[in-house]
Amino acid sequence: EAGVTQFPSHSVIEKGQTVTLRCDPISGHDNLYWYRRVMGKEIKFLLHFVKESKQDESGMPNNRFLAERTGGTYSTLKVQPAELEDSGVYFCASSLRAGGPYNEQFFGPGTRLTVL
């Protein structure tokens, strides 16, 4: 069974440009999450999809970030316009269940974003 995949693995852009990150969850997982780690900090939650609906987007830093999951399969996270502080590693995770204690999330390899 394929795990969570993310594309691209690395992205280097200039401040003000736009970048779109993609995540393909494990097949059959309705729950999809975005997290990120900025330099020297812990991994932090961004948002949670259940199928195509945003269940919780309390971690989204500002309106420069737009996440979509049309059709409830893969998800994209767009940053427009990118700022220097957006640099970091963006992780996607998926889970079969949501809620309750057995919410085991499986992570992708991450996208390393560098904004110059």
Binding site: I43, H48, P101
Partner: protein
């Protein structure tokens, strides 16, 4: 805002030694997950603990959940160089989001 404090941040030991990593919070978790992360990869789930006082073993790794479900520990017996990596604890509170600790970077020298 829930915080999860993980200690130590760094640990360098010799092969064969034992070690313990701690994860503490003032909040009660509904569950806690331990992950291991290698450079350039995402966190890989090791174990999930749910019940207060629960102990789970994974070969030489022993995971314990505190009775009050506010803390957890990871104990490695007879560490091997292959255990080298970043260990992360992550707690689930009311919702589905995970709150991560800062991680423990472990180096096991042969």
């Amino acid at each position: 805002t829930q915080l999860l404090e993980q200690s130590p941040q760094f640990l360098s030991i010799q092969e064969g030694e034992n070690l313990t990593v701690y994860c503490n919070s003032s909040s009660v978790f509904s569950s806690l997950q331990w992950y291991r992360q290698e450079p350039g990869e995402g966190p890989v789930l090791l174990v999930t603990v749910v019940t207060g006082g629960e102990v789970k073993k994974l070969k030489r790794l022993t995971f314990q959940f505190g009775d009050a479900r506010k803390d957890s520990s990871l104990h490695i017996t007879a560490a091997q160089p292959g255990d080298t990596g970043l260990y992360l604890c992550a707690g689930a509170y009311a919702g589905n989001m995970l709150t991560f600790g800062g991680g423990t970077r472990l180096m096991v020298k042969p």
